[in-house]
């Protein structure tokens, strides 16, 4: 039997499915929570590090692992400073309630915006370094040698003069009693031995044996399983339902309405809950929302392209005057559709609520937001709630939201003491997302007689994520995040081109379809708009798109584009019928560029042969994982470019499952070659920025191959045949 328990004190017990089968058959009683009786007695060195007498190193990870490799990278950073034996490293999650109870000693749990490593590297390395200094101080006392004469390496402390050694495990208990040092000096990255290396992930083996437990696999004693159907029109209400019709169906335990907009069937199994829910008559109140369709949304956005009022995100000089006086004017309108995250594991959460306690088990990108949702839904104070994080079967921004946590807690509240696992069907998941927002963009550029870009006007029209999800973060009504990748300055997502006269603004138009953070977020569409239009401008100027960009780009942006172009052999002869397209962007603190090599056959068949992608993320913590994130970014970004589109009819999302929402598979996956060009002077993110160059690099290559400029995604709607 596997009981996952950590070295932290208060902890619910997690029991894997396979283990419970055995446990039940043997009649084991598994307590929900024990605490003191089972808590391990090994005292932590600090919030980040626990070392056991057998030298096992437990590193605490606050961010969520969802495939991006952050837990391995963060462990590498701690272990590097700790000077421990990497083969002894394991990890565990502290819980959000423990973070709150300890004055947020683990700081931010939120895992989005490619922030895991770039925003926590300083304090997790300090945690490792402080623990190392405490171990050395304890060893000094035990070896009766001055601490300054001791060296620590590979979990062993050595006094060179006497030849005496002691292991971390032998002094950890004494070290844990010591005061932490006031300050520590971190290692120069050039001296790294564990960080910076392509070490293997710490979470692989259980993922190839079926042992890895995700939230959807959880089994708790006495647990029931629920499934939900919310109003098919987001924002609509539940009018009525006829529970009597299904209450006698196999396994059904309860039928409940929650939040006035959804109905839930609780049963002994998911399959019985799902079968009963499918037979449940429901009536919805969708009001005026039923009149909304993709066509009406397009009309709304089209009007925004020419509206007088808009929020200005980036302004230099006088773009209008420059374009009016230009020798040549270029204009184009682009659009970018709603898209779905499609985590492979559908949304789910397990909750148990009693009069004085609310516990939640789930995959979440934001443990503290899930904790807040549990508190709000249960009506219990945060101190009486906790969230036990599970590994995520995909996140991509979707699991930063806590709507599914709230629902599970609301249902569990109806059945006090009974653990309820709420699983969304794929159909529910497809139709109740917070989608990649929809926007359109009108771009106008002016070229002088020599083909220099003298003015550029960019009008974005469409949906704001912050206005829907975090209205408190709007700045005088403006959503600054809309300008990701086009921002005037900053270390997050700044615009890389020096344009003498520039105006980028946003006419906010918010349809009722809820938008959300979708891996790469607003950089994705902004890179399509800007990078495809740069090619259009280069064409109008009669210049090569690389040369045209290099004249305008600031040094860091230019360097990464050149690195990609050089590696791809841009400008050199390609196989007959193959064409290159390129794109660059800064996002999530990093500079990235991609070169796509494509061909389009006479009958219009697109083949993406190869991608060459360059990344300057400042510091490289695990090059093997960065390569996987970069290649994965093309799988994700090209899926969206080829197929990703959510449409709306009668107020509801039309796509319901993978038969109506296709994704890229292995046969369409191009070979991705990754070039890492870190400059060592900043910390940038990796999980997201590269997605943004996937679509524009391919669209630019298609334009070279066919002479046709695709300005609206997804590509599946376009006939690429020459002359078509």
């Amino acid at each position: 039997m596997t009981i996952h328990q950590t070295s932290l004190g208060r902890r619910g017990f997690l029991v894997s499915g396979a283990a419970v089968a055995g446990g039940f058959s043997l009649g084991f009683h598994i307590p929900f929570e024990d605490g003191a009786a089972h808590a391990q007695t090994v005292k932590e060195l600090n919030a980040w590090v626990v070392i056991h007498p057998d030298d096992k190193v437990v590193i605490r990870i606050a961010r969520s692992e969802m495939g991006q490799g952050t837990l391995t990278g963060l462990c590498q950073l701690v272990a590097e400073e700790l000077e421990c034996n990497w083969s002894k490293v394991t990890w565990e999650y502290p819980t959000p309630a423990e973070n709150v109870a300890r004055n947020r000693v683990w700081k931010n749990f939120s895992t989005g915006g490619s922030r895991g490593i770039r925003e926590s590297n300083q304090y997790v390395r300090e945690g490792g370094a402080m623990a190392r200094e405490m171990l050395i101080a304890a060893a000094a006392a035990q070896l009766k040698a001055p601490a300054a004469e001791l060296t620590a390496s590979n979990s062993v402390i050595t006094h060179k003069a006497s030849g005496k050694t002691v292991t971390y495990g032998a002094v950890a208990a004494a070290a844990a009693q010591l005061e932490p040092p006031k300050e520590v000096k971190l290692k120069d990255p050039k001296d790294w031995k564990i960080a910076g290396k392509p070490v293997k992930r710490l979470d692989t083996v259980d993922k190839v044996t079926g042992k890895q437990i995700y939230g959807i696999d959880l089994v708790l004693p006495g647990m029931l399983v629920a499934t939900v159907r919310a109003c098919p029109v987001i924002g609509g209400k539940l009018k009525s339902f006829d529970a009597a019709k299904i209450e006698k169906m196999p396994g059904v335990k309860k039928v409940v309405a929650i939040d006035g907009n959804a109905v839930v069937v609780v049963a002994d199994t998911y399959w019985n809950a799902r079968t009963a829910l499918a037979a449940l008559p429901t009536d919805w109140d969708i009001g005026e929302l039923g009149k909304v369709s993709s066509e009406t949304i397009t009309q709304m956005l089209t009007e925004g392209l020419v509206a007088q009022e808009a929020f200005v995100g980036n302004k230099v000089g006088d773009a209008k005057a420059a374009i009016d006086g230009a020798a040549k004017k270029v204009e184009a309108i682009y659009s970018f559709p709603y898209q779905h995250h499609v985590t492979m594991e559908p949304m789910n959460a397990t909750a148990r609520v009693t009069a004085d306690k609310c516990e939640v088990w789930c995959g979440t990108q934001n443990g503290e937001a899930a904790l807040a949702a549990a508190s709000e839904a249960s009506g219990l104070p945060v101190a009486k709630c906790d969230v036990f994080k599970q590994l995520l079967g995909g996140g991509f921004g979707r699991r930063g939201r806590s709507d599914y946590v709230r629902q599970a807690v609301l249902v569990a509240k109806e059945m006090p003491g009974t653990p309820i696992k709420l699983i969304w069907s794929r159909e529910e998941d497809m139709t109740h997302c917070q989608y990649h927002p929809i926007t359109m963009c009108k771009l106008t550029g002016g070229l002088d007689a020599q083909g220099n870009l003298v003015g550029l006007r960019v009008r974005i029209s469409g949906q704001s994520i912050l206005a829907s999800l975090l209205p408190g973060n709007l700045v005088n009504g403006m959503d600054p995040a809309t300008f990701q990748g086009l921002m005037a300055s900053g270390v997050e997502a700044a615009y890389g081109y020096n344009v003498p006269n520039l105006l980028i603004d946003h006419a906010m138009r918010n349809p009722h379809i809820t938008p959300g953070f979708w891996r790469g977020v607003n950089v994705n569409q902004n890179a399509v708009y800007m990078e495809c239009f740069m090619d259009e401008l280069a064409d109008a100027a009669g210049q090569d798109p690389l040369a045209f960009r290099m004249k305008l780009l600031k040094p860091k942006w230019a360097a990464v584009l050149k690195a990609a172009a050089d590696k791809a052999g841009y400008g050199k002869p390609l196989p007959a019928g193959h064409f290159h397209g390129l794109a660059q962007v800064m996002g999530y603190g990093s500079y990235v560029a991609g070169v796509a090599e494509v061909s389009v056959s006479a009958d219009g068949h697109l083949k993406i042969h190869k991608i060459t992608a360059a990344t300057n993320c400042g510091h490289v913590v695990n090059p093997a994982q960065i390569e996987r994130q970069v290649a994965g970014s093309f799988a994700y970004g090209l899926s969206a470019a080829l197929y990703g589109e959510i449409t709306v009819k009668d107020g509801a999302v039309e796509q319901t499952n993978f038969d109506s929402y296709n994704m890229l598979r292995i046969d369409e996956m191009p070979k991705v070659e990754t070039v890492l060009v870190p400059t060592g002077d900043f910390w940038g993110g990796v999980g997201e920025p590269t997605i943004a160059v996937a679509a524009p690099s391919v669209l630019n290559a298609i334009a070279r191959a066919t002479g046709k400029r695709v300005r609206n995604l997804p590509l599946m709607h376009h006939e690429l045949k020459k002359g078509a």
Binding site: S16, G17, A18, V20, A21, M66, G67, Q68, G69, K200, R201, D203, T204, V205, D206, K207, V208, T209, G210, K211, Q212, I213, Y214, I216, D217, V219, V225, P250, T269, Y270, W271, N272, V342, T343, M344, E345, P346, L391, L392, G393, G394, G395, F396, S425, R426, R628, A631, G632, S633, A635, Y636, N657, F658, D659, M663, R665, I666, D667, M669, K671
Partner: protein, 149 residues
């Protein structure tokens, strides 16, 4: 009470006979390594072997299986030793989130049984599973590595 032959054992369950094999495996037999992704045989996360044939268990009624042999991801390792495909997956460090990987490994197992030295085209044809993290490059590498092992 119905019986299924899973991973070499005769296992009893009480589910409605038309329940998809996926949910009998997951909820009755507690073999949760086989995953629910779409329920309509598109994504392959639920792939198991039925008499050696890679099959999407979400669309197979349990009562249609009869006495055919079902192999799930939990049945691949023998005596705690990973089989050569799992070992290649670990050596190449394939999984990211890992949710689709049970199905990937099962599909690769069937492929290598049928074609011990698959070409890239064979891999393209056989590996129709969806991975959203984008492990495809590593999946291909691991299949070739397992073929050489």
């Amino acid at each position: 009470m119905a019986v299924l032959n899973v991973n070499g054992k005769a296992l009893n369950h009480n589910a409605d006979p038309r329940t998809p094999l996926l949910w009998v495996l997951r909820e009755q037999l507690k073999l949760t390594g086989t995953k629910y992704g779409c329920g309509i045989a598109q994504c392959g996360a639920c792939t198991v072997l039925i008499d050696g044939v890679a099959t999407r268990s979400c669309q197979v009624p349990a009562n249609s299986v009869g006495n055919r042999k079902v192999t799930t991801i939990e049945g691949l390792a023998a005596n705690g030793q990973l089989n050569k495909i799992q070992a290649a997956w670990v050596a190449v460090d394939v999984p990211q989130c890992g949710y689709c990987q049970s199905g990937m490994v099962m599909a690769a197992t069937a492929l290598l049984a049928a074609k011990p030295k698959p070409t890239d085209a064979d891999i393209d044809a056989a590996m129709t599973n969806i991975c959203r993290c984008g492990t495809y490059q590593q999946v291909r590498e691991a299949i070739h590595a397992a073929a050489k092992a």
